[in-house]
């Protein structure tokens, strides 16, 4: 095994299973969406299916990203605990996947359904909402890069990422008014998401981590509230 192979092998080994699953799901749905565009069939059937596949996958990734924390909080009460590093990774990766899938969705919709008439996007409420949601997600995608993350720091980075909730609300408007989307499915999903979001207010039930040097006991409750804090 030469050096390159060793490096590649090391890189692959460094990819966690959950990251691989999220990345794989993103690649598969994106590829499938693009391939559908080249299939035969009547335009409205083909184009809408391609748009829906990419759009719904973006929505699914966003839902997981937002709801993973509250679900984990409820899991704690049921005795299910997950390493915080894993939970942070899943949340972050699904968020990134959501933005990328949204980009794929936008590209496909613009290319096949709107036939390149980009100005049509400015003409209708549901496309306005979709465009703003995309802009928000792309902004957050930028903030997810390592240089920006280290620059923004935790106390600025976290509230900034609450924009994902605004993006979710805009996506709701977008899907609700989209001509070929299911209103029942959308309203059901968001109602469920709202209920799950309330789990965020449950007190945390996670195993007590060892205290970090210089970390006070009084800080633990706040750290538990944020879920992500642990001693180094």
């Amino acid at each position: 095994m030469n050096e390159d192979q060793t490096m590649r092998s090391g890189f692959l080994k460094s990819i966690h299973a959950d990251t691989a699953i999220v990345g794989g799901a993103l690649v598969i749905t994106s590829l499938a969406s693009v391939l559908v565009c080249f299939s035969s069939g009547y335009y409205i059937e083909r184009d809408i299916f391609a748009s829906q596949l990419s759009g719904y996958s973006a929505l699914a990734f966003l839902a997981i990203s937002i709801l993973f924390g509250p679900l984990l909080r409820a899991g704690g009460w049921l005795g299910i605990h997950l390493d915080w590093k894993v939970s942070v990774r899943i949340t972050k990766n699904t968020g990134i996947a959501s933005a990328l899938a949204a980009l794929v969705h936008s590209g496909i919709s613009l290319a096949v359904y709107l036939r390149g008439n980009w100005r049509e996007v400015l003409e209708h409420l549901y496309l306005h909402a979709g465009l703003l949601a995309l802009a928000t997600l792309v902004l957050l995608l930028g903030f997810s890069t390592r240089p920006l993350m280290s620059r923004t720091r935790w106390h600025l980075w976290k509230p900034t990422f609450r924009l994902s909730f605004a993006a979710a609300a805009l996506v709701f408007i977008h899907v609700l008014y989209a001509p070929l989307a299911s209103a029942r499915w959308t309203v059901g999903l968001y109602t469920g998401a709202l209920v799950i979001s309330l789990l965020r207010f449950l007190p945390s039930r996670r195993p007590t981590p060892p205290l970090a040097p210089g970390f006070k006991v009084s800080d633990r409750s706040a750290a538990a509230g944020c879920e992500t804090h642990s001693a180094k």
Partner: protein, 773 residues
């Protein structure tokens, strides 16, 4: 992305506490956003995002900037709750203020209505329309994919009704309330049971039991009697000049009546019953029934009372002539259009017929030397259809009204143009010899150009040597005396419950009568316009207020529908008799558009061509913004009333549902509908998915043309296809005169349905199917 967590190791510093912990921060952000969003006052997605960003900054960053970062951490739970309440109070206060402000709330409520309608139609099995009318046959469609059999039970205790499987999960139910009684209170919402393969599903439907609606009269002045029919309550109403009246129950859907035998007999034709009734006017009894095809729409008795003409719509469109008084069939004259108004001219050998869709007046003649009736080649063309027509004194002229003075067939391009006009058509010369607009200003106007008189002439009758004209828009009657030209002597009759008068007739002996379908009343007046008698056929408003507010709102909505705005336009002006005038109008946009029917729109939010209004009540904005509101103020909410009225109108009764049809052909049509991919957008059962598509996507050539010519980029609302065959011309601007033309001439890119893949027979089956809707 979109995560509320991060790897603190990435930042290279120990985690720090947020100003407020966890989910509470989010809650506070939302509260502050609720405060900011209404304050912005714009209900757009951009305003929403802007409000959220502002709230985010205020809650998360402002404390740090102002040195308050640690403040909340020092607060107890009680203090935090108090802080939350403090923040919530102004937010709630602002929301309450917004709730009182109509416009933003309409936008929010509209989204709710849109979501509700869409969800109702996607809740399978779904039925459309969700409206039960107790007065007329209705065709319902049920969408239940995967089911083999669907039955419908419309009321508790009644037997389930079998539906016809059209294929692809679509089922059809032709319902006749005369066969299955719909007991219940007007306006109630009832749970209807749809059983799909034996599994019961409840769906809410609203019951509408209409009040009597007396409309146009036939009269015999020499006998001092007039008659009118109420299609809604299946009645013939006889009115004597002495104030006596009689209500006679006739067959289903009486459409018109005519006197003969010196005013002692009345012929009554029906829409839904295959019979013509002869009624004894004195006794109020049905003497004879004569079999005729359904959808008899108008009657006219010849001046010598020897011939009766019956206008027939339906499978055989034309005029059936009958001899009088024995009502034996004479000849049948087929017509290439659906006859609307008919009246005999100078004698029993001349019949004038109007064509609403084609906007023209034609003449049939039966000359002594000719054995058959023939249609004259010369046709009077109008820019708008005839609203009402009557035979002038002596029969030398026909008096007709239309919403324009223009006498050519070209669409009027003037913006929101309505000019109610009386035309005098001379039968000798077969040309319009006199035309005069009826719109007048008045001495009460508070704005320049306010129209106070003469809106929506709905009925014209010969009165002595002159004419009596009833105006539904301005609640008045006008007298036009011979030689006075266009001078009209207007008299308001709205001191009495006679709003939106539809019918007017001479009762002889210097008396006349007027009908109000909205109020269910008939008034008898003398020559000085003093009310002699008021005949009530329905409860008055006070009684209704005590009983049930729904029907009262509907009544007020119907009144509003006909009421004139300051600009002299009413809903009725274009939506002729709640339907369409089949004409193209300029309504502010550069391109002309055709008029949509008001029937069957309930439950299909959003409304209008591009779907700008999520609520029917939102259409009232058009009145306020374009037509300068109504002249008279009322205590009730006109918008709400209009919504109640419009949502009580089912899709127009299609004559085809009363005729035998071939189930196999219908299934073939549904197959073609699905094969051509129509069902993607025109989703059963309402045949719309309530969505909007860019014009350029569905009609690329047309979209490109309007963008180039008018710099327009429009989204087109997917229209419901119920009753589509009854409202030509087609497509949103009326550029397709027939259903075939929609696909053959206006679908070159094959993107408005994949009709290119259909065989000729499949295409024909598709058209047949669309006609059955």
């Amino acid at each position: 992305m979109a995560h509320t967590h991060s790897d603190p190791t990435d930042s290279g510093e120990p985690p720090r506490k947020a100003a407020l912990s966890g989910g509470w921060t989010q809650a506070v952000v939302l509260l502050v956003m609720l405060l900011i969003w209404p304050a912005i006052g714009a209900w757009s997605a951009l305003a929403f995002l802007g409000a959220y960003v502002c709230a985010l900054i205020i809650v998360n960053y402002a404390p740090a900037w102002f040195g308050l970062a640690g403040m909340t951490a020092r607060l107890s739970v009680g203090q935090r709750c108090a802080l939350g309440l403090l923040l919530a109070t102004p937010a709630v206060a602002v929301l309450v203020r917004v709730a009182r402000d109509a416009e933003p709330m309409k936008a929010l409520a509209g989204a709710q209505e849109f979501a509700r309608d869409k969800m109702e139609l996607q809740k399978l099995p779904a039925i459309f329309p969700a409206l039960l009318r107790a007065d007329q046959p209705q065709r319902f469609f049920i969408h239940s994919p995967g089911s083999r059999e669907v039955t419908v039970r419309l009321s508790a205790g009644s037997a389930p009704l079998a539906t016809e499987n059209v294929g692809h999960g679509l089922f059809m139910l032709d319902f006749d309330p005369r066969k299955t009684a719909l007991n219940g209170e007007d306006g109630e919402t009832r749970q209807v049971v749809l059983a799909a393969d034996g599994v019961a599903h409840e769906r809410a439907m609203r019951l509408v039991v209409p009040r009597p609606h007396p409309r146009w009269f036939a009269s015999s002045p020499s006998a001092g009697i007039a008659a009118t029919v109420s299609e809604e309550t299946d009645e013939l109403i006889l009115v004597h000049r002495d104030g006596k009246s009689r209500r006679v129950e006739v067959d289903d859907g009486p459409a018109d009546c005519a006197f003969f035998a010196g005013g002692s007999r009345v012929a009554v034709c029906h829409k839904f019953a295959p019979a013509l009734c002869i009624v004894d006017a004195a006794e109020g009894k049905i003497l004879e029934r004569h079999e005729l095809p359904r959808f008899q729409t108008r009657l006219a008795a010849s001046p010598d009372e020897k011939v009766l003409a019956v206008a027939l719509d339906g499978a055989q469109r034309g005029i059936q002539f009958l001899s009088l008084p024995d009502a034996q069939k004479l000849s049948f004259v087929p017509l290439p259009f659906s006859p609307d108004w008919i009246a005999f001219g100078r004698d029993a050998g001349e019949l004038v017929v109007t064509d609403r869709v084609g906007r023209k007046v034609v003449r049939l003649r039966n000359k002594p030397q000719q054995p058959q009736w023939t249609m004259d080649d010369e046709v009077i063309e109008l820019a708008r259809p005839v609203v009402t027509m009557c035979r002038g004194a002596g029969g030398k002229q026909m008096i007709l009204s239309a919403t324009t003075t223009e006498l050519d067939h070209e669409p009027i391009t003037a913006n929101h143009f309505i000019e109610d006009t009386i035309h005098h058509l001379d039968l000798e010369d077969w040309e319009v010899v006199e035309s005069y607009p009826t719109h007048r200003g008045g001495l009460d106007q508070d704005d320049p150009g306010t129209t106070e008189h003469g809106v929506s002439p709905m009925s014209i009758a010969v009165y002595g040597d002159g004419l009596l004209i009833a105006f539904a828009g301005t609640n008045e009657v006008a007298l036009n005396t011979p030689g006075a030209g266009s001078t009209l002597d207007f008299t308001y009759i709205d001191d009495e419950p006679l709003s939106a008068p539809h019918g007017v007739a001479d009762l002889g002996d210097d008396t006349w009568c007027v009908s109000s379908p909205v109020d269910g009343t008939i008034g008898i007046y003398d020559d000085d316009v003093e009310l002699l008698h008021l005949i009530r056929l329905a409860p008055d408003e006070e009684e209704m207020e005590e009983e049930n507010s729904g029907p009262l709102k509907r009544l007020r909505g119907e009144r509003t529908f006909y009421e004139a705005t300051r600009s002299g336009v009413s809903c009725q002006s274009c939506h002729l008799h709640t339907d369409t005038d089949h004409s193209q109008h300029s309504i502010g946009a550069a391109e002309l558009v055709d008029v949509l029917t008001v029937h069957g729109v309930a439950g299909t939010s959003p409304y209008l061509r591009e779907g700008p209004y999520a609520q029917l009540r939102g259409l009232h904005k058009v009145v306020l913004e374009v037509y300068r509101d109504y002249e008279n103020e009322v205590e009730w909410d006109r918008a709400e009333a209009l919504e109640h009225y419009m949502s009580s109108l089912p899709p127009r009764a299609n004559w085809r549902m009363l005729e035998p049809h071939d189930p196999a052909r219908l299934r073939q049509g549904m197959d073609a509908f699905v094969k051509a991919q129509c069902a993607h957008c025109h989703v059963p059962p309402a045949m719309t998915n309530l969505g909007q598509h860019p014009a350029k996507v569905v009609f690329p050539e047309y979209g490109a043309a309007i963008e180039k010519e008018f710099e327009l980029r429009s989204f087109l609302d997917v229209p419901g296809l119920r009753g589509i065959s009854l409202s030509p011309p087609f497509l949103h601007d009326g550029r397709a005169p027939s259903l075939e033309s929609v696909f053959q001439d206006h679908n070159p890119s094959n993107r408005h349905g994949d009709t290119a893949r259909l065989s000729k027979d499949e295409f024909r089956a598709l058209i047949d199917f669309l006609e059955q809707l």
